[in-house]
Point group: C2
Chain length 490, copies 2
Amino acid sequence: MFEAAELGRKIKKTVYNEEIEGLRADLLQCQQELLDCDFSVVLLISGVDGAGKGEMVNQLHEWMDPRYLETTAFDAPTEEERERPHFWRYWRALPPKGKIGIHFSSWYSDPIAQRLNGQITQSQHEAYLSRVNTLEKMLVDDGTLLIKMWLHLGKKHYKQRIRHLASDPKTAWRVSKKNLDNIKVFDEFRSVAEDTLRQTSTGHAPWIIVEGYDPRYRSLTVGRLLRDMVRKRMEVDPKTLTSPTVDWTAKKDKTTLLDFVDLSQALKKKEYKEQLLHYQARLNVLARKAHKQKLSTVMALEGWDAAGKGGMIRRIIHALDSRHYRVIPVAAPTDEEKARHYLWRFWRHLQRAGHMTIFDRTWYGRVLVERIEGYARTDEWIRAYQEINEFEEELTEHGIVLMKYWLHIDKNEQLARFKAREQISYKQHKITDEDYRNRERWDDYAQAVADMVERTSTQVAPWHIIEGNDKRYARVRALQLLCDRLEQVV
Amino acid sequence: MFEAAELGRKIKKTVYNEEIEGLRADLLQCQQELLDCDFSVVLLISGVDGAGKGEMVNQLHEWMDPRYLETTAFDAPTEEERERPHFWRYWRALPPKGKIGIHFSSWYSDPIAQRLNGQITQSQHEAYLSRVNTLEKMLVDDGTLLIKMWLHLGKKHYKQRIRHLASDPKTAWRVSKKNLDNIKVFDEFRSVAEDTLRQTSTGHAPWIIVEGYDPRYRSLTVGRLLRDMVRKRMEVDPKTLTSPTVDWTAKKDKTTLLDFVDLSQALKKKEYKEQLLHYQARLNVLARKAHKQKLSTVMALEGWDAAGKGGMIRRIIHALDSRHYRVIPVAAPTDEEKARHYLWRFWRHLQRAGHMTIFDRTWYGRVLVERIEGYARTDEWIRAYQEINEFEEELTEHGIVLMKYWLHIDKNEQLARFKAREQISYKQHKITDEDYRNRERWDDYAQAVADMVERTSTQVAPWHIIEGNDKRYARVRALQLLCDRLEQVV
């Protein structure tokens, strides 16, 4: 795989000088046009130490307009980063549409280093890479142009380079003990790197290996590639980027699992009061323990309009310390959110270790309202099931307790609640024409909910359908499920 | 000051029950109306341990719609917080317009604790409080409703409360050694607290002391106050919030300091090349040292359109490692930015320790384009000078090196550059009708620049006016000034 990049390729100064001015103008022009485009560019720069990664990135900053370039270098994770799932810091650094983000030491540097040090096994390495593939697919499917460049050097040239740097007092500071040690393990490194590149060189995000021996060759090659790939991407119709989707929804029969929910469940007032107190006390103890153990919880609340999410949230937080949770209302995205992948706005709200994040409506909007109202294209919402499963797996793998509730009521109960709300002054704002419009599409939503549960109720993150016609029953049930789950882990 | 809050005030259960439902409805209504208002509410909850601060905040969350409440509890600062100026984490947590943010252990807890422990002297304490007053004034002037509640307990009741908690196994966990120690230093604490409140109880943000002894009294009082203050604020015309401003600009004569800038300064090509290389090499060494020492630099670049900021930035970053700086282009604010104080969007971009942040246009937009185009009211841009000085003092006090450049050219030179840009395809986008419109207001801008320099060139953050008619001279000069400054500190 690397043989072609170990030849010592060079470019003459005259050739370089001839081309360089035009290339810089092209790159600036590309950036300018990109500002009006509906996608972002993420450029990952990885490779062998001493192959000129740093110089290359500096070079790009000099050539291009640094105002529309955002370079993020990922060193050892900070305290705030360690308290969130692994990919959080990469999500956080994603550029908005119209800009180019350079990721330096991206999600590839950890697995290669850890594999070399023996901190992870080969199968752990592979598992991680398959997660990386999914992440990259998500970004590409969303329209991101993902360019992965590996700057390479053969062992001979690597040794030469290190010795050359070490021999000049002006550059000797750049040679660390690690560089010298790397010479010894070079063959092993090369083999782990090849393994990594092979497993992650996918159709949607192939690796490009660039020989790093000669600065002119390297600069010109990377510059040209970047220009040509951005230009090519600009000509592409976004709809053709994703593989054609089989729309399986037509095949469905009319009965969904929601028809089997027993909505007659109810609690008498006295029973309710007792049980509410009981579970709130239990939750209080469990939540305190969880906070102490730095165990985080994410609650994803979905349900019909007027199903009682608000009241349920109030009963839950009653048992919690307000310093240890945050309720995130999910409404229309802000423009900073619109400029990125739809999951970005949920990633950004993940709280620090030991906290509970309660999402009032969630990422499932993608397969509910966005599907029904046509805000997302068919291929977009269909692939969202897998993207969501992946997202949730990342949360749970980090040790986060994830609870997903669908708060269910029937159509008559909804109407009764709409009418009741219209009678109470401070609840009137909760009822709008939109609610009635959504109501008309009840069957479509029911189908979407059924599909959602079928496709995203996983072992690590099962859906709980809460029988909600009786508010008392629903609240107690929600508390009980949460307590039971926390009890298993704290 | 605290005497009135040490009486053991109580409210009867019947009175409480009678009022509470109406109060809750009112609070919900307030929140709903607030969503459409052009201001945010920041509620600071401070006070004596055991006076029910936590319970109070939990209570508010239960009563109100938790989706529009954001509580932030400030514990010991995280690594990312410690690497930024002190107030960074408080700015970061400010709620957007339309929402209520509760700040728990706000900017008041550190100074009180540190004063008690003897970590800071009385004069340091006072200096900090005067900074707090300025911050609060800034927020209030921007329209924020700032409510500061001190929940109080007298010594007798404090002792009672701690002993009571300790005696019940269900609550004993809440009593820490610190609580017991606090009994011993209660008088001292009370005196430092009184000192703090007295110095920060200003006309724009007075303290409200609430006796915390009886939960019903405390809850009802805080709830009522919150409702009444939000309601009252809604009736106020924002323009009347700030003190009338003397517009001193009319008094100015036509000659400004810009007329005394010697624009004939120039460098020959050979000289330029030599000096450029010289200073870039010097900057490279200095920047590496600064990074190692975790010393941050903020560069604030302003100048006429076409003055050559872009080219100057490229010459500077040529000497830097792209992992260690970020260029922030300042254009129209995003909607998340518009919903907050105008300085918020600059606070959010401060990089971690050891990094350079280059602002391409800055917070000075407030007293330049916003002043000239009328985007800011007169009282807003006039008070901005002081706000900006304060902001910059916070940066420099944290140890950040702050460099402010005004890149100056004359009117003829600008026209020549506009014409030249129109000839080069990838530079055409840089010239728009707006540039010509701005040009027509040259004299207004010149006056604004002169005022800006006069009012914000401080010892800690002086302005450098760079003679820019000759690009070569300007670039070398910018590098030289930066090197000279860094040399003093690394």
